[in-house]
């Protein structure tokens, strides 16, 4: 699944017992461990009669997708709006989430699940702001998956929450493959990153339902070419809603917050 970096799993197809070279595009040693028995082949199998063994070697189901659907059903039953926030490291996910929660306070209640390889610094920053938060430290796993989310969600009193925000691990590659059961996938692009990020990481930007340009207060200092960035975003995330804002100054936040309220209202109606 996580084909790009090898931190995930692959579901290989091998029908009929023929040795099959894996089509993975990994550039490192791959740990697939094919046991001898899967290649066992009774002679009569060639002729289609008598007792025979047919080798299939197929992944039954993409485990993550299944768990993500379970999460989705659970979240839907709870009438929660669930956001999966993804970006490169340093695009401003934590500040964006903190300010979103702070500005919604009194109107909606926000809970956060935050993923990082190590430390609970982000969780601490959010907790200081009075937001219920669960930190997942993933070790060396570069993304959150649906299983981690279901375990983390169990640690939040979801009946006290309207919007559950998942701050994914800062990575624009692998998290794209992992459905967490969210309603909306929000990708951030900060003005300091370069306007061509969407072109460099198309799967992630393509998979997002919302794209947010962050740190707009720094745009001129960073020499940010807004037109070019928006054109690139529209090219890759063509179906995504685009917002431009500064979490720090609050510029552009209103449109985003209104959007969240709209989306939550839609979830509550379902």
């Amino acid at each position: 699944m996580c084909k790009e970096c090898g931190c995930g799993l692959g579901g290989d197809v091998n029908i009929g017992g023929h040795a099959h070279e894996h089509g993975h595009d990994h550039d490192h040693d791959h740990g697939h461990d094919h046991h001898d028995h899967v290649h066992e082949h009774h002679p009569e199998a060639e002729h289609g009669h008598g007792r025979q063994t047919v080798t299939l070697q197929r992944s039954l189901l993409e485990k993550n997708d299944r768990l993500a659907e379970q999460n989705r059903g659970f979240f839907r039953a709870k009438k929660l709006l669930v956001l999966n926030v993804v970006s490169s490291p340093g695009s401003g996910k934590t500040t964006f989430i903190r300010e979103t929660a702070a500005k919604l306070a009194g109107r909606l209640r926000v809970g956060v699940i935050v993923g990082d390889l190590a430390t609970d610094n982000d969780a601490a920053r959010l907790r200081t702001a009075g937001i219920p938060v669960v930190q997942i430290t993933t070790g060396t796993i570069c993304h959150l998956d649906a299983d981690m989310i279901s375990k983390a969600a169990a640690k939040i009193d979801l009946d006290q929450v309207d919007v559950l925000v998942i701050e994914n691990v800062g990575n624009l590659v692998c998290p794209a493959d992992y459905d967490l059961g969210e309603d909306l996938r929000i990708v951030l692009l900060s003005v300091t990153e370069g306007e061509d990020k969407p072109l460099k990481y198309p799967p992630m930007f393509h998979s997002a339902s919302v794209a947010v340009v962050t740190k707009t207060d720094m745009a001129s200092a960073a020499g940010f070419d807004r037109k070019l960035a928006l054109a690139n975003l529209q090219r890759v995330s063509h179906h995504a809603r685009i917002f431009e804002l500064s979490s720090k100054t609050g510029e552009g936040m209103k449109a985003w917050l209104d959007f969240i309220e709209e989306q939550l209202a839609a979830v509550k109606k379902k």
């Binding site: 029908i15 740990g31 697939h32 008598g50 063994t53 047919v54 299939l56 992944s59 039954l60």
Partner: protein
């Protein structure tokens, strides 16, 4: 489980078989699969199919992690196990989350 039986029946049909005798699954130690639940489901889903009465064989795949720094693979009990060499936690699971249909025996 339904999917496993569906795949098995499909394979059996392709080979003009009459029935499925054995279905073999590879189950990773960290796949989250409960063997008892799987067996229970298997009996239920097999009813009224070519796999009715078939036996289910489960092969457990031990979990192994990969330390990218030391470039070693090591057995691990969970996703946060430490590399035995550098003691850094490694969650790069190489094996252990499989849920695959390995083979079927048909007649």
């Amino acid at each position: 489980m339904e999917e496993a039986v569906r795949m098995a029946v499909e394979a059996a049909r392709t080979s003009d078989a009459r029935r499925i005798l054995v279905l073999r699954l590879r189950v990773g130690a960290l796949s989250g699969v409960v063997p008892e639940a799987l067996r229970f489901a298997f009996d239920v889903v097999c009813r009224d199919t070519m796999a009715e009465g078939a036996s289910l064989e489960l092969e457990t795949v031990p979990a192994a992690c990969w330390c990218p720094d030391c470039r070693v693979e090591f057995e691990c009990a969970d996703l946060l196990s430490e590399c035995p060499r550098c003691h850094q936690p490694s969650g790069q699971l190489r094996r252990g989350r499989e849920l695959e249909i390995a083979s079927v025996e048909i007649d």
